[in-house]
């Protein structure tokens, strides 16, 4: 029987939850790297035993760890992330120029095609790639050197490159998202990049034709329809049907269209999940009720999923990388909270239960569907 491995990054270490295909009984190991912030860990689609980890603290900086046995043992890999050339400046919060400085790796995206190739999205925003299993890292500097780089500005959490989406069949095409610069797409394997933010609006940006400056929170795509991308923008949930050439609003009847993660169902590109948060000033669920919202129509028409989730006195947040899906049938949906719970639904969101309840604040959740 197939199984599921859930990789949980928290503010004080990584945890690995495993179950067989029933997703009924769960084992928990960890903390791995106890006391360190684990912004993200993710397994290779080519070799599920290969797991890459971003480990950091403000004291000791960035560490990259790698496992080749599904998280039983770890090797410390290379941690030198040096910007290509003279980094220059981006905008600071007050609009003044600020030097580009490496702070941490927010997101690791293993290649769809090669277990030794992995992409790293970092703060201050840039994209790095390793082709030797994480030992050395090279910046794909065509992104940062796109003409708009000097105008990028940090979001409240920093200027992180947090989302990396690979086209399932065309290795030359990839999308990334930066808070708060927006979405960029490459069609030549990362050499050159173009903004892909047409149709996005923000009350903080007076120019209706602005190319960049958008606080995109997350992107998601089902490989069965790689032209269709979903986005949780700072405010607004958006969809593109043309590979991010343009975006349209699909917030519809959501109680709030502020939020962080967005995920697409494993088997149906029309089914999408978001977790509404009250506002950008109050990072907790509307009415203190933890509700995942599901649309089966590609957005606009949303239904609240509440069965098994707390419906009173709930003041947690769900961060952008803290939601994931498995590829079993029916599709499992998972998310972690800043309160240390990891919730799982084995039936596409109809029923939920906590598979971990007292972890440190959850930063990321990734799910591996094992053979």
């Amino acid at each position: 029987m197939s199984g599921v491995r859930v990789l949980v990054g928290t503010k004080k270490g990584a945890f690995i939850l495993e179950s067989d295909g029933t997703r009924d009984q769960w084992s928990v190991t960890g903390p791995h790297f106890g006391g360190w912030e684990i912004y993200h860990l993710k397994g290779s689609p080519v070799d599920p035993n290969r797991i890459y980890v971003s480990q950091s603290t403000g004291w000791f900086g960035q560490i990259i760890q790698r496992s080749s046995d599904g998280g039983k043992t770890w090797e410390t890999m290379g941690n030198q992330f040096t910007y290509d050339g003279v980094p220059g400046t981006h905008q600071w919060y007050d609009g003044t120029p600020h030097p580009w400085e490496f702070k941490r790796v927010w997101h690791l995206e293993p290649s769809l095609h090669d277990a030794d190739t992995v992409y790293a999205g970092v703060e201050d925003a840039a994209l790095f790639r390793s082709t030797d299993g994480g030992q050395s890292w090279t910046e794909l500097s065509g992104l940062r050197k796109h003409g708009s780089g000097a105008h990028w500005m940090p979001g409240a959490g920093g200027m992180g490159l947090h989302t990396i989406v690979q086209h399932p069949t065309n290795p030359k095409r990839m999308w990334i998202a930066i808070s708060s610069a927006g979405v960029f797409r490459t069609d030549d394997g990362g050499e050159t990049w173009a903004p892909a933010n047409k149709g996005l609006t923000s009350k903080y940006i007076p120019d209706p034709n602005a190319e960049v400056g958008f606080c995109v929170h997350n992107l998601s795509m089902n490989p069965a329809n790689p032209d269709r991308l979903y986005m949780q923008l700072h405010w607004n949930v958006m969809r593109s049907d043309d590979g991010a050439d343009s975006w349209q609003l699909i917030s519809g009847n959501l109680p709030s269209d502020f939020g962080f993660p967005v995920q697409v169902h494993a088997h149906d590109p029309e089914t999408v999940y978001v977790v509404p948060i009250k506002s950008d000033s109050e990072h907790y669920p509307p009415d203190a009720k933890l509700r995942v919202y599901r649309s089966r129509t590609g957005g606009t028409e949303w239904e609240a999923l509440t069965n098994g989730l707390p419906q009173e006195h709930c003041y947690v947040n769900i961060l952008r990388d803290a939601m994931s899906i498995d590829r079993l049938d029916p599709c499992g949906v998972y998310f972690g909270t800043t309160g240390g719970q990891v919730y799982m639904s084995p039936d596409g969101g109809d029923h939920w239960s906590a598979i971990a309840s007292n972890l440190p604040s959850v930063l990321s959740v990734e799910v591996q569907t094992l053979p």
């Binding site: 360190w36 403000g58 004291w59 000791f60 941690n79």
Partner: protein, 102 residues
Amino acid sequence: MSGSTIRVVVPYHLRTLAKVGDEVTVEVTGTVTQRSVLDALEARYPVLRGTIRDHVTKQRRPFLRFFACEEDLSHESPDTELPAPVAAGTEPYLVVGAIAGG
């Protein structure tokens, strides 16, 4: 040129990372300075590269301090000779993390 055996104490998380105990020793050839000690430490434990000093600039990370013989050496030149008891191996060179966090 003769070498010196230098005792170095690093914070808990770096001990875990380098898989070492409370105190390590490194061999330094020539003048014993903060730079030569940290160079030797990173050469022996490459996983510590970038965790104490910046990879490129070699600047001390902001939340770390360097001490020896009850003196704060954090703002000394990295090329200043360390106190004689450190060079003689009777006192350790201390890398200390700021006490903060939740």
